[in-house]
Amino acid sequence: MNIFFTVVVRDLRLALRRKTEVLSALFFFVVVAALFPLAIGHEPAMLRQIGPGVLWVGALLASMLALSRLFEVDYRDGALEHMLLSPHPLWLLVLGKITAHWLLSGLPLVILAPVLGLQLNLSADALALLSLTLLLGTPVLSCIGAIGAALTLGVRGGGVLISLLVLPLFVPVLVFGAGAVQALSSGLGAQAHLSILLALLLPALFFSPWACSAALRIALE
């Protein structure tokens, strides 16, 4: 278990030394959220309705932007090869990297989303629920996305390829994440959506490190 925290701390430290990469994904999220009212119009009622969806799609794209860096840097400087050769189970190392990726790309979105939600006229209840769904949903995005990142390691045009591979797989998270807020505003209650998001998160956490390890071994054999 120690090695897990070592990997997390290492990845966080590396990222903090190159802050622009983390921050640019975050600013991308802010800019995307600001573009929608400009394109669609600024009537408060409509913004309230499309708000959760806009923020969720923004979060999806922002967390995907950061994906291509997940293994790429370690792959280039050879650190990844050492991880594969190390005596520690690879899935644990991968889980550490996924966790670090989420702390850097998912958690900031969760914190930032309520602020952007205010711009989109969401009510206090909706804001709280939006943060909760993002808290449950963004780890799934990191888990699924990591598989795509591992598969496209060192491949030509990897960045665009990841989006093609991974975005269709993000659909369930998007549906239940954005749907929870819609359900709340239509008076249905979001309990079921939250349960399903959790039900997506647990198998993703379980299977993704395993699939990522397989993909990394394929990429580096």
Binding site: I147, G148, L169, G179, A211, A219
Partner: protein
Amino acid sequence: MTIRWFYYAAPQTFYALAGRLWPWFAALATLLAAAGLWIGFAVAPADAQQGEGYRIIFVHVPVSWMSMIIYLAMAFWSILGLTFNTRLSGLMTRALAPTGAMFAFLSLWTGALWGKPMWGTWWVWDARLTSELILFFLYLGYMALTSAIDDVRRADRAGALIAVVGAINVPIIYFSVTWWNTLHQGASVSLTRSPSMAALMLWGMLIMALACWLYTLAIVCYRVRSLIIERERHADWVQNLPEVAGVKP
């Protein structure tokens, strides 16, 4: 009589087998398609509610079935490839993918053609339409990944992994989209027809489905032969084939 599965798992022997089989599959597919289209467009009566426009289902339904079955077949070959590390599995998966994508696209296309006169719109965000669209994206993702990786062995195995991940996700996606759809538009349009089909219509559709199966078998055998020759072009047995004689590897 026992079938020597592992004997035909070698590309060299499968090349010969596929070469013998595909003309039969192709001929049968042509015959059945002709019969199915004849029943569908000439014999079967016009539908009481939908008129002549319903006849697109003779193409639409078999094509949609195939688009889903081919993804399952890809997942099957991928699991085989990942567990037994057989060379043929990756080739079969690759040979299946373009056909699957074509069927998924045809399914969307014919569905749109049917939707325009029936529902008055080319596209609705119905659960089945949406999940078919996502299935189409999954095919495209698989093909993009395998063609982007230069090392063919790595491409095969990476493709196998994404195919399996996709196959696990397909039911979840279908379920989530159904959920999303019921929340959003309730009972606007449904693809399920209330009256049961006439026997003749059912026969036409089943024959067309069989034709699609045989077409897939034929085209996959044909395509896998090309892939095998391309992959093994430096091997002696390929160089000695009459159809490649004189071509530089």
